[in-house]
């Protein structure tokens, strides 16, 4: 099932009045359960592409469909609701809410969805158990290591069973062993729950795990095909 479709997407930034073409016409289709890595050198447009797929940024031209709904015409509130229900984000800098504990961070999006407290506690515990981070429940981000924070961020991203999880350089701030463990976890989530993962990364170990690898260069798709993990 198609979860994301991009048609002739362009993104033009203005840099002090000078137009900069970050994306020059991207056509891309992602189906459910994919484990896709968007790679490419710095400035190739991979983060811009991920932001547009995550409805964090708008395309200058072209159309973006998330679960067959065109998001370009949606209001800010509708896009917020869409992100809340359909998307999960894992950021390079973890970006947990510092004043909340791990448990509360995981519960947060469920609270935004209006799920009652007991139900969200149960679901958060379930996810924490699955990711083996139960002992972190009452810790705040500043009491956790980077790897622990990123696991909590993954738990936050998957807790609402989103259609797509977008991960922007998720291992960039982690040592290789912690990064590998995190990727193991994400692969397991992908395998066990058919969650769709889309990564933006230039980390070799992330690229090596790709089942589909999209390589960008100068705002264009240079290569789109099977990754190492697919072989």
């Amino acid at each position: 099932m198609e979860v994301i479709r991009l048609e002739h997407v362009e993104k033009i930034y203005s840099d002090n009045g000078v137009p900069v073409h970050a994306l020059r016409g991207i056509d891309l289709r992602i189906t459910q359960g994919e484990f896709t890595v968007i790679a490419g050198p710095s400035g190739s447009g991979k983060t811009t592409l991920l932001n547009i797929m995550g409805a964090l940024d708008k395309a200058s031209k072209g159309k973006v469909f998330l679960e067959k709904e065109e998001i370009g015409e949606k209001s800010r509130d509708e896009i917020s609701a869409f992100r809340l229900e359909k998307l999960g984000f894992v950021f390079q800098a973890y970006n947990l809410i510092p004043v909340l504990t791990a448990m509360e961070n995981i519960e947060f999006t469920m609270m935004l969805l209006g799920i009652e407290e007991k139900q969200r506690r149960d679901r958060a515990r379930e996810v924490m158990r699955e990711l083996d981070i139960e002992e972190l429940a009452d810790k705040r981000p500043n009491e956790m290591s980077g790897g622990q924070q990123q696991r909590v961020a993954v738990a936050r991203a998957i807790v609402n069973n989103p259609s797509i999880i977008l991960a922007d350089e998720p291992t960039a701030n982690l040592d290789s062993e912690t990064g590998a463990n995190l990727l193991d976890l994400m692969e397991k989530m992908n395998r066990d729950h058919k969650l769709t993962f889309i990564f933006s990364s230039h980390d070799r170990q992330v690229i090596d795990r790709a089942r589909r690898l999209v390589i960008l260069k100068d705002g264009l798709i240079e290569r789109d095909g099977n990754g190492n993990a697919a072989q």
Binding site: R76, S80, A81, R83, L84, F89, F91, N95, L100, E104
Partner: protein, 404 residues
């Protein structure tokens, strides 16, 4: 959970929040104290005027208040006294005769008001007996007079000294009598103490040729909040030949001062609110700018801009509520303490007694003050957070997340 986030965010920068809270608390306590002190002062002026002479209600012949001549006597004193006895709201009453006149001693003269009273009844109506500082209150004996200390000073008389009172008598002739000073009183109003002398009603009647006539009935009601109702009942019983005036009619300037002060207090609240708004805007803007990346993340994970807006307002509102509760507690505590022990302004006593306030002022805590604080301050803190909240709403997640 938004409340939890708001609460914890407030304490992320403890020092800044404490500074804001202290400014709110001190501001509230100060404005409450100022409010209580001013209301206390004006009320004291009002109560002192009521207590020293005016009383709650005065009954005269119709038109007496506008034309205070001795010929304008109460038409049927027995009718008035019967009405007073049969009105449940009336607690005490006292008949009076009074006239403007001249008091003279061997050394000096002074204009003033000569008041003839029933000593027994008058002591329940005014504070004159309690205000005697030298000598004694009236016993009802002939030629006794009690005068204010300022008048005594001016006439240079003391207890037992002679003074001559002169005033227009009923016939139009000048009536006069020789009195001996039996007592000297000192009220909180130096102006009153300069001008009034009291003698027994029989003595005054004799001097003014009034026989058994009465010029004024001074009335104290059981419940001051029902003074208008009691006055209306008396008006209804007495008819158009009489004027029944409450202290509100008799002291219009003081009463309007209370109302005017209430209006002025709103100006003070407005000034405090404006100052507070700037503080809150500054604090909340700093709080938002420090959390741009975090707000970007909240937006990215699906928090709507309306919730972002609400979150900032809740934070400011929480600060406002904590500040208001603490400030209200402090202000109330201070007002309750000083309303019982009073604040001694002896250093300004000359000025204060001129206004009939007294050297010791007892601040008053009123429901108006509490309601004003409860409504205006939290509302102000929330209003102060609107601009920072709008700034937070306008952030774009894609740029906010990358903000360093």
């Amino acid at each position: 959970m938004l409340l939890t986030i708001a609460w914890r965010n407030i304490w992320r920068n403890r020092r800044r929040s404490v500074i804001v809270l202290v400014s709110i608390v001190v501001g509230i306590a100060a404005v409450m104290f100022n409010d209580g002190l001013s209301i206390g002062m004006i009320r004291q002026m009002l109560e002192n005027s009521i207590g020293s002479h005016v009383s709650h209600i005065q009954i005269h012949a119709q038109g007496f208040n506008d034309n205070r001549v001795i010929q304008n006597v109460v038409p049927k004193p027995a009718e008035v006294e019967s009405a007073l006895r049969n009105t449940a709201g009336v607690q005490h009453w006292s008949p009076r005769v009074l006239s403007f006149g001249l008091l003279s001693s061997a050394l000096n003269s002074s204009g003033g008001v000569i008041v003839g009273v029933d000593p027994e009844r008058e002591k329940d109506v005014t504070t004159i007996r309690r205000s005697i500082v030298e000598g004694n209150y009236l016993t009802g004996a002939a030629h006794e007079v009690v005068i204010g200390n300022r008048l005594a000073d001016k006439l240079n008389v003391g207890i037992g000294d002679k003074v001559v009172g002169m005033a227009s008598a009923l016939s139009g002739d000048v009536g006069s009598d020789l009195f001996r000073v039996a007592g000297i009183f000192e009220t909180v109003s130096s102006e009153f103490d300069k001008a009034y002398m009291f003698t027994s009603i029989d003595n005054a009647r004799s001097m003014l040729e009034l026989e058994d006539r009465i010029l004024e009935y001074a009335v104290i009601v059981r419940d001051i909040n029902r003074v208008e109702a009691v006055a209306a009942e008396l008006r209804q019983k007495l008819g158009d030949d009489y004027e029944v005036l409450t202290y509100i009619d008799l002291l219009p300037i003081l009463v309007s001062q209370v109302d005017m002060y209430k209006s002025m207090m709103y100006v003070v609240y407005l000034i405090i609110a404006i100052a507070m708004i700037f503080g809150i805007v500054n604090t909340m803007l700093m709080s938002v700018f420090e959390r741009i990346q975090e707000i970007g993340v909240l937006m990215a994970i699906g928090m709507s801009v309306r919730r972002i807006f609400a979150m900032v307002l809740i934070e400011a509102g929480t600060l406002g509520i904590i500040g208001t509760a603490t400030g209200l507690a402090l202000g109330t505590g201070l007002l309750l303490l000083f309303s019982s022990i009073g604040i001694d302004f002896s250093i300004f006593s000359e000025g204060l007694t001129s206004f009939g306030v007294g050297a010791v002022i007892y601040p008053r805590l009123t429901l108006d003050t509490v309601l004003n604080v409860l409504i205006i301050i939290p509302l102000t803190t929330v209003l102060g957070a609107v601009y920072p909240a709008v700034r937070a709403m306008r952030l774009q997640p894609v740029t906010a997340i990358r903000y360093v």
